[in-house]
């Protein structure tokens, strides 16, 4: 017994000593590798989100201390971020050394050959390769930043899926449950089918009205002045009905069913009319809501259930300074039509959008080596857990098992477990090199369907025709 104790003690000691040695080594390695670049300044552009704010405020400072390389961050709004990064890369100006790549724009960037192949670049600069940075440590989300050969073009920095949030305090209230069952003839529960979802929405809207509460049945990300509405339809509602890749057939280059597309097909029409049919049960701000307002509405307690991007789940569930529903947030997989989950499990579809972003290095950068060090720094395992806790994002498989995350997980009703286990059911954006272009074409039709100016069928058949016209103009169509 005593021997064993000594052994354990010894082992612990050795381990500890080793660890401190590793830490010291790590410091030396960074300083040494960065020596030729100390004093340079690398600049990046990013949207102002919690994960990227953590990078700007915490990680950048640590990196500068270790390496002497300064990191400048330009945070800006969503539209601005794209226009500035694209201008820079297209004109080959070299303003940015790293750019934020939202997952859905990566294929456009790759098609234009804007980005440095990070796998290749690291292999060519072995002296800059950091031991604790390993591409295989990333979750499957990193696959959406790879080319056909499996080479990585962006270091994932945030990742999340759009989940179904519901108010536990409402769904678990006995009086409400009784009232629901009396009216609908089956017990109240978080929705698993679209019919049930609509019943819930209708019920809670009526309930809110009868109790003179500011409560509605569902969120709808239905802004008529912003692409957010098109995104919710094409990336969340559509796939859960079985409408994939925006209904665009890449082989024929068409969105019309006559040519192999599906944007004007029955599934799409069903999805759009179902979704716009939810508007009467959504709070009045729904038609002005982008993703951030949807999250805010839910956090304000104005909706009983809804589709909310996962990056917001953590603060809605835990941050009392911003959310009125802390502790009452339930998290589930979004509802799907029959057969959709099965298809997704077989890899023949997906149930929603695996969203997120990465940092990549434009070819126009003049400090590629220093930037490579920086990207490895934020991509290494040891910084992931705290970053995940601060920004509700997970990009490393190992991070799921970290105690910090396990603790968070219980507070957000198992969101991280869901992300880990069911994440593969979601998928990144379709591999379009014309992402923003075609989205802009579809936008007005979705907006007019929301306004009721067009029926779902009219909106989608006109949208599909307009998409085809744009595709052929861009040279991707027929």
């Amino acid at each position: 017994m005593k021997k064993l104790f000594t052994l354990v003690l010894l082992l612990a000691f050795v381990l500890l000593a080793n660890m401190s040695l590793v830490t010291a080594d790590m410091h030396d390695w960074w300083a040494e590798a960065a020596a030729p670049y100390a004093g340079t300044t690398i600049r990046g552009v990013s949207e102002s989100t919690p994960p990227s704010n953590y990078v700007a405020d915490v990680l950048a400072a640590q990196f500068t201390e270790l390496t002497g390389i300064n990191v400048e961050f330009e945070t800006t709004s969503w539209d601005q971020m794209y226009s500035k990064a694209i201008n820079d890369m297209e004109a080959n100006t070299g303003i940015y050394d790293f750019v934020y790549i939202e997952q859905d724009i990566i294929y456009s960037y790759l098609a234009q050959d804007y980005l440095v192949n990070l796998t290749q670049f690291a292999a060519d600069n072995m002296d800059l390769a950091y031991a604790d940075y390993d591409e295989s440590a990333f979750t499957s989300f990193a696959d959406y930043f790879k080319n056909a050969d499996g080479d990585l073009f962006g270091v994932p920095m945030e990742a999340f899926v759009k989940v179904y949030l519901y108010r536990k305090d409402l769904f678990e209230n006995a009086d409400i449950q009784a009232a629901f069952e009396a009216e609908y003839g089956y017990p109240l529960a978080p929705a698993e089918t679209f019919e049930q979802y609509r019943d819930n929405a209708e019920f809670f809207t009526a309930y809110g009205e009868s109790m003179d509460m500011d409560l509605w049945g569902t969120t709808v990300q239905g802004s008529t002045g912003h692409p957010a509405s098109t995104y919710e339809f094409l990336e969340s509602i559509g796939p859960s009905f079985g409408l994939y890749n925006w209904g665009i057939n890449l082989e024929t280059g068409s969105a019309q069913s006559a040519n192999g597309g599906a944007l004007d097909g029955e599934t799409a029409i069903e999805a759009l009319s179902y979704w716009t049919g939810l508007l009467p049960f959504a709070p009045p701000e729904a038609t002005s809501s982008t993703w951030d307002e949807v999250a805010s509405s839910f956090a304000a307690g104005r909706a009983a259930q809804g589709w909310v991007y996962g990056e917001n789940a953590a603060w809605i569930a835990t941050d009392e300074s911003r959310s009125a529903v802390t502790g009452n947030v339930g998290v589930r997989l979004p509802v799907t039509a029959p057969g959709v989950i099965e298809a997704a499990e077989m890899g023949e579809g997906y149930i929603g959008y695996y969203d997120g972003g990465a940092f990549g290095v434009p070819h126009s950068s003049r400090n590629k080596e220093a930037t490579l060090l920086w990207l490895q720094f934020i991509g290494q395992s040891s910084v992931q857990a705290e970053w995940a806790a601060a920004g509700a994002r997970i990009t490393h498989t190992a991070t799921f098992d970290d105690p910090l995350i396990a603790e968070q997980d219980t507070k957000v009703d198992g969101y991280y477990t869901l992300l880990e286990e069911q994440g593969p059911l979601f998928a990144g954006a379709p591999p379009f090199p014309f992402h923003a272009q075609v989205r802009e074409i579809i936008d007005p039709f979705v907006q007019r369907a929301i306004l009721g100016e067009l029926t779902a069928e009219e909106a989608l058949s006109q949208a599909a025709a307009a998409v085809d016209e744009e595709l052929s103009r861009l040279g991707y169509g027929m």
Binding site: S108, Q112, A286, T287, S288, A300, Q437
Partner: protein, 290 residues
């Protein structure tokens, strides 16, 4: 007259700056307007396509619709500003205690950055946290949702613009009114003209140059409005004005060729409109001199 060389010398810094930062970009836009150019197309170079962009534009419902909306916006907004600004300026020509305080407060909106104006108005009118829909519903039982009703979005932009720019009109009108000599007005009154006649036959002719100039400046600015409306309603149905439409075509769609040709046409229409006004103003001036 004096040596024109000195005149050109005095004018040259202005000309140089405007040629470099105004005219050169214009030439570039003009050039691009005759090309097919989208950096995210399969073949991403510039391809000369003659008048194709302009042909496409004539049949582009979205563009035509945006021009119609912009015109409605400009006419309603500027019309209200002129009437309101004139009435207020008229009231400011007389003295009364507290006048300067009222005038300062009235000028404040002019000082708020357009993007902040858009943000404030969004906060006022978005259901959920905006007081406007809340109180309209409670007191008058009116449903006010700018996201759902395009007309409401348009009217909200008009009212926002009136709020923002009426002070400017009031100030120019006030300046114009104070500069009107007293004698003709007194004379007309002695001759037995009523108030309307004094206004119509004496005040208005004197005020005409200021009036037209103000309208001119407001038209120029109203047609290119982007920031405020963008923040307010994002340029959805009802507020997709030409300035915003161009922005969407040029930026998210990166259709530089087509966006440039729309810009050229818009600029051309603005110039024609303003040229007519300009002739009206300078015609009047020449008449005075001779």
């Amino acid at each position: 007259m004096r040596d024109s060389r000195t005149g050109w010398l005095l004018l040259s810094p202005t000309l140089i700056i405007l040629l470099v930062f105004g005219f050169a970009p214009f030439l570039y836009v003009l050039f691009v307007g005759f090309n097919q150019w989208n950096i995210f197309s399969a073949d991403d170079g510039l391809v000369f396509n003659g008048l194709d962009n302009f042909r496409r534009l004539v049949f582009d419902d979205d563009f035509l619709h945006s021009v119609g909306l912009t015109m409605r916006f400009a006419i309603f907004a500027i019309g209200s500003q002129i009437v309101l600004g004139f009435v207020l300026a008229q009231m400011l020509t007389r003295n009364f205690p507290g006048k300067s305080l009222f005038r300062v407060i009235h000028t404040l909106p002019l000082m708020v950055a357009p993007i902040a104006v858009g943000a404030i108005w969004r906060l006022l009118v978005i259901p959920g946290f905006g007081p406007a829909p809340f109180f309209l519903d409670r007191w008058f039982d009116l449903t006010y949702q700018i996201g759902t009703y395009p007309d409401q979005a348009l009217w909200t932009s008009v009212i926002m613009d009136v709020w923002h720019w009426t002070p400017f009109v009031t100030l120019t009108m006030l300046a114009g009114l104070t500069a009107i000599p007293k004698e003709p007005v007194e004379q007309a009154k002695v001759d037995g003209a009523n108030r309307f006649q004094v206004f119509w036959y004496v005040t208005l002719p004197f005020l005409r140059p200021v009036l037209l100039t103000t309208v001119f400046i407001r038209i120029m600015d109203a047609i290119r409005t982007v920031d405020e409306v963008w923040m307010l309603a994002g340029g959805g149905p009802g507020t997709r004005f030409t300035g915003i439409y161009i922005w969407r075509v040029v930026f998210p769609r990166t259709d530089y060729g087509y966006g440039s040709s729309i810009s050229i046409i818009t600029l051309y229409l603005t110039i024609v409109l303003c040229w007519l006004l300009f002739i009206a103003i300078s015609g009047r001036r020449k008449g005075e001199v001779e």
